[in-house]
């Protein structure tokens, strides 16, 4: 495995997009771009699965299995037998 961070759970359905561009506003890594009057999923590999785009998409065009990208939290959660990963 050369890079664990190239694949993630972010999915974008352009047919459902109403071009409100909220995803381009809230994404902290510029994963989405406004191009020629439409939103494009341009850099999916940059996604950190924070979920901001999905939460703020009014048409359900975006889905992502959001969560905390923290090894410590994930390992502690697994050891405790919990399901919800939280960093504090």
């Amino acid at each position: 495995m050369l890079n664990a961070y190239t694949v993630n759970t972010l999915r974008f359905n352009p047919e459902l997009c109403n071009n409100c561009v909220m995803c381009t506003t809230v994404c902290p890594h510029a994963v989405f771009l406004r191009m020629n009057g439409a939103v494009r999923l341009e850099y999916p590999e940059r996604c950190m699965e924070c979920g901001a785009c999905q939460v703020n998409c009014p048409t359900g065009a975006i889905s992502v299995d959001s969560g905390v990208g923290c090894a410590t939290a994930m390992m502690i959660t697994a050891l405790k037998g919990q399901k919800e990963v939280s960093c504090g």
Binding site: T25, A52, N56, D65
Partner: protein
Amino acid sequence: MPSQTTDTPAPNIPTISAHITLANRWDHLKKRLGFGRNKSHIEPGLYAIGDPGPKSPVFASANYSLSFDALRSALKRVDGYILVLDTKGINVWCAAGKGTFGTDELVQRIEATSLADVVVHRKLIVPQLGAPGTAAHEVKKRSGFIVQYGPVRARDLPAYLKTGEATDEMRRVRFTLKDRLVLFPVEVIHMLIPTAVIALLFYLIGGLPAALGAAVAITLGAVLFPILFPWIPTANFSTKGFILGGLAAVPFIVIRFTGGTDTELWQRSIWGLTHLLLIPSITAFLALNFTGSTTFTSRSGVRKEIFTFFPVMAWMFGSGVVISIVMTIMRFIRV
């Protein structure tokens, strides 16, 4: 309660200052060092800054003092209101991830403070990093207030307020050397006691070189890795940690080979092997655990790293410890 509360320009709305006092700076320093992070939360509610009127902007914030102080200090020449949400003393981004900085709390706080009676407009400037917990369209539906996402960093607010728009750069999260250096003091303080305890344990199973090796591995993984990692080759945190730990193991291996001339070559070789197993595995484990402090690692990626590299780390560490114990026992019984 905020330390800068003074008079009230309107009934029940305390006024806060944009000035950061020496006491505030002392509070920031303590928090940066990891002390009192769960103390001195800002009381949730509505605050006035400057001399606001019914048309003044409203900014949302968390009730973590560093978040709140970053916001108010960025509003030095602004008349407005700050709506502090109850995020249980956690910063905006982390609280948004947990949902405490989110739609429900925002709507509830708008109602609890009667914000609609304080201002005539229906706009609320929310920090962009609050977006993972805030559904702007839901807030509008439930409260009538339109969420406008401000820039990532509070210090960009004056520029944002001039144009009403954040530039692309204002919307990007970075993780610069300065950002990483801020983590340095707290990492040092958090690792002091664990390092001493682990070094002592390693002293018992492998002598002074093992204790020093453990201390170096922990220092590298927990303290220096956060600063150095962008310059270490490979994309995964675990492999970066293996590389850093592998390099650190080299001098220990050389010392084992050249220092213990009273022991057989095979014994010196095995002691050298223990360093090669232990130091990289410890450094890699700590490097993997740094993922939670970064601003860009995804859950999918971290999960992949754990499943791929954690078994390797565990195997290397376990083998190193077992071999060290066996070698120490053999030394005592003079094999």
